[in-house]
């Protein structure tokens, strides 16, 4: 990792989210967040389950549109893009879905080949080489003939990663890449994310609630909860954050400002049967 000087110049950010508001049905997911994704670096988005991390990736990639505020990708507004330009931009992004999202009627090989066949006219021989290269990178070259149904959750995620990098995108969004990985493939995956980022000069967004792995790999971290950015900074800053909320989250302690319990009357009162006659 080179020590790149952190500047706030807009051109250094591949993605800029400003004053984002978003709701799903009656549920408010975001109420005014600003997020910068710096070019060529790994930015992590952390937060408890259900805060809207996956939603954020969908907003950045234009699958969903923000209610207000703006999302810019490489200087262009994603919010106002036509479907055609959006699709053009998406060839520059790869996304690793939480569920893998592999096409169930295609083999592992054909899944990885899918985006290449759709967007290029490369001869089959060349496609074969590319696909095997990508599968080798995630350690699953031997699984090329399996159907997605024959893969474990962790393997499916890695095939999906091979597919996400098939077209050599400029930016990759990883949605919970570490979930369901054994220690070895976890290590491989961490190194792979780092290597893709540094060697190919990619920009990476890692969404996760695995504190240790994420803080270990990220260059910059955003912690979000309840529709707000609670804290952001490099991993050192987050580790020593003076926000009690962040401290509780990264040390995983049950006591603190983050409620583990659904709101109710005080426990003791309930046990003593406050309204019992």
């Amino acid at each position: 990792m080179t020590d790149s000087t952190a500047t706030t110049s807009t051109t250094d950010n591949l993605v800029e989210v400003r004053d984002l508001h978003f709701r799903l049905g009656s549920r408010v997911i975001y109420q005014g967040v600003d997020i910068d994704i710096a070019r060529g670096r790994i930015t992590a988005i952390m937060g408890p389950s259900g805060t809207g991390k996956t939603t954020l990736l969908r907003l950045i990639s234009g699958q969903w549109r923000a209610d207000s505020g703006s999302v810019h990708f490489d200087g262009q507004s994603v919010t106002g893009m036509s479907q055609k330009t959006l699709f053009e931009q998406r060839k520059r992004m790869g996304m690793l879905f939480q569920s893998g999202a592999l096409l169930t009627d295609l083999s592992v090989f054909d899944n990885v080949a899918f985006p290449i066949r759709e967007h290029t006219k490369l001869p089959e021989r060349l496609i074969r080489d590319i696909v095997l290269m990508k599968l080798e990178a995630v350690g699953l070259r031997g699984a090329r003939d399996l159907a997605p149904a024959q893969l474990s959750g962790g393997m499916a995620r890695r095939v999906a990663l091979a597919r996400a990098i098939a077209l050599d995108p400029e930016m990759i969004m990883y949605d919970e890449p570490f979930a369901g990985q054994d220690p070895i493939s976890m290590g491989v995956l961490l190194r792979l994310i780092r290597r893709l980022n540094d060697v190919l000069g990619l920009t990476s967004i890692v969404v996760s609630h695995d504190v240790k792995e994420t803080l270990g790999i990220a260059d910059y971290v955003y912690v979000i909860s309840d529709g707000h950015v609670i804290d952001h900074g490099d991993p050192e800053h987050i580790r020593h954050s003076d926000s009690a909320w962040v401290q509780q989250f990264i040390t995983a302690s049950p006591d603190g400002p983050v409620p583990f319990h659904y709101a109710d009357t005080p426990y003791a009162e309930d046990l003593l049967g406050g309204d019992r006659t």
Binding site: R58, S61, Q63, Q83, F87, E88, R90, K91, M93, G94, M95, F97, Q98, S99, G100, A101, L102, L103, T104, F114, P115, E118, H119, A160, R163, L167
Partner: protein, 260 residues
């Protein structure tokens, strides 16, 4: 008052669905020309819906043809007109039962499978995944299946008609079992079924039915809530709505085609 609002809400919901499905159909049709470049996608789908429905269409055709010959023979024999059996079976099969029965079978077999397939693809993020790869799922997944339905239905209907009239169904009961003269049977068919009036109409009708069934199925699947309950509702809805829509469309088409 409350009940009135509820009725209005339901009605409004239907209208909104109708509007959305019309827009969806527009999107499908707009992406049909792109399929010219990839005919393989369509052929694969024709093959897969064909395999799904072929056997039941054949079996149903045979049964329907047999029963028509049986009941037709009884009625005609009273007037000594057994030789008109071919005419009677052929006209009923070609004008009404062929497209309708094939359509109902197609809706139950291929339509429900199609809605479930697309609904599951949506529930498992496969459609979003495709969009993220800059591939339009309407163009890549929905349009080929729609076109395949429009092409497969007339073919299946022809098979149904041949089975019902021919050696397995009507001919078997009428000629082999009840002793109607074979020459008279074929002759009756030849002289009563006209190409323009009947055969062409079969193709038009069954093509329209194929479009209706697959339209309903892909709309239901594509707009199903991404849960297992949503998908199962979509499949049931597909069979019910498509079947009723076929019967209604059949009435209208028959009225138009055979009014003159």
């Amino acid at each position: 008052m409350n009940r009135l609002t509820r009725v209005f809400n339901t009605l409004f919901g239907w209208l909104a669905d109708l509007g959305r499905s019309a827009l969806f159909l527009g999107r499908i049709i707009a992406s049909l020309p792109a399929l010219l470049a990839k005919p393989r996608l369509v052929i694969e789908q024709i093959y897969s819906v064909g395999v799904l429905s072929l056997l039941i269409v054949v079996v149903a055709g045979i049964f329907v043809g047999m029963v028509l010959a049986l009941s037709g023979y009884r009625a005609l024999a009273d007037f000594g007109a057994e030789n008109a059996l071919g005419t009677s079976v052929a006209l009923v099969v070609v004008r009404e039962l062929g497209p309708v029965v094939t359509g109902l079978l197609f809706a139950g077999r291929a339509g429900s499978a199609l809605a479930a397939e697309i609904g599951l693809m949506k529930a498992t993020d496969q459609l979003s995944g495709m969009e993220m790869m800059a591939v339009d799922p309407v163009r890549r997944i929905v349009a080929p299946r729609f076109l395949a339905g429009v092409i497969a239905m007339p073919l299946l209907t022809c098979i149904f008609c041949v089975m019902a009239i021919g050696a397995g169904g009507g001919y078997f009961v009428g000629v082999d079992m009840l002793g109607v003269d074979a020459g008279a049977y074929w002759n009756g068919i030849q002289s009563s079924v006209e190409f323009n009036r009947d055969i062409l109409n079969v193709f038009i009708k069954s093509g329209v039915f194929g479009a209706i069934i697959t339209w309903v199925a892909v709309f239901q699947g594509y707009h199903a809530p991404p849960t297992s309950e949503g998908v199962s509702r979509a499949t049931t809805n597909t069979v019910v709505i498509a079947s009723l829509a076929i019967l209604a469309a059949n009435l209208m088409l028959t009225a138009v085609m055979f009014s003159g």
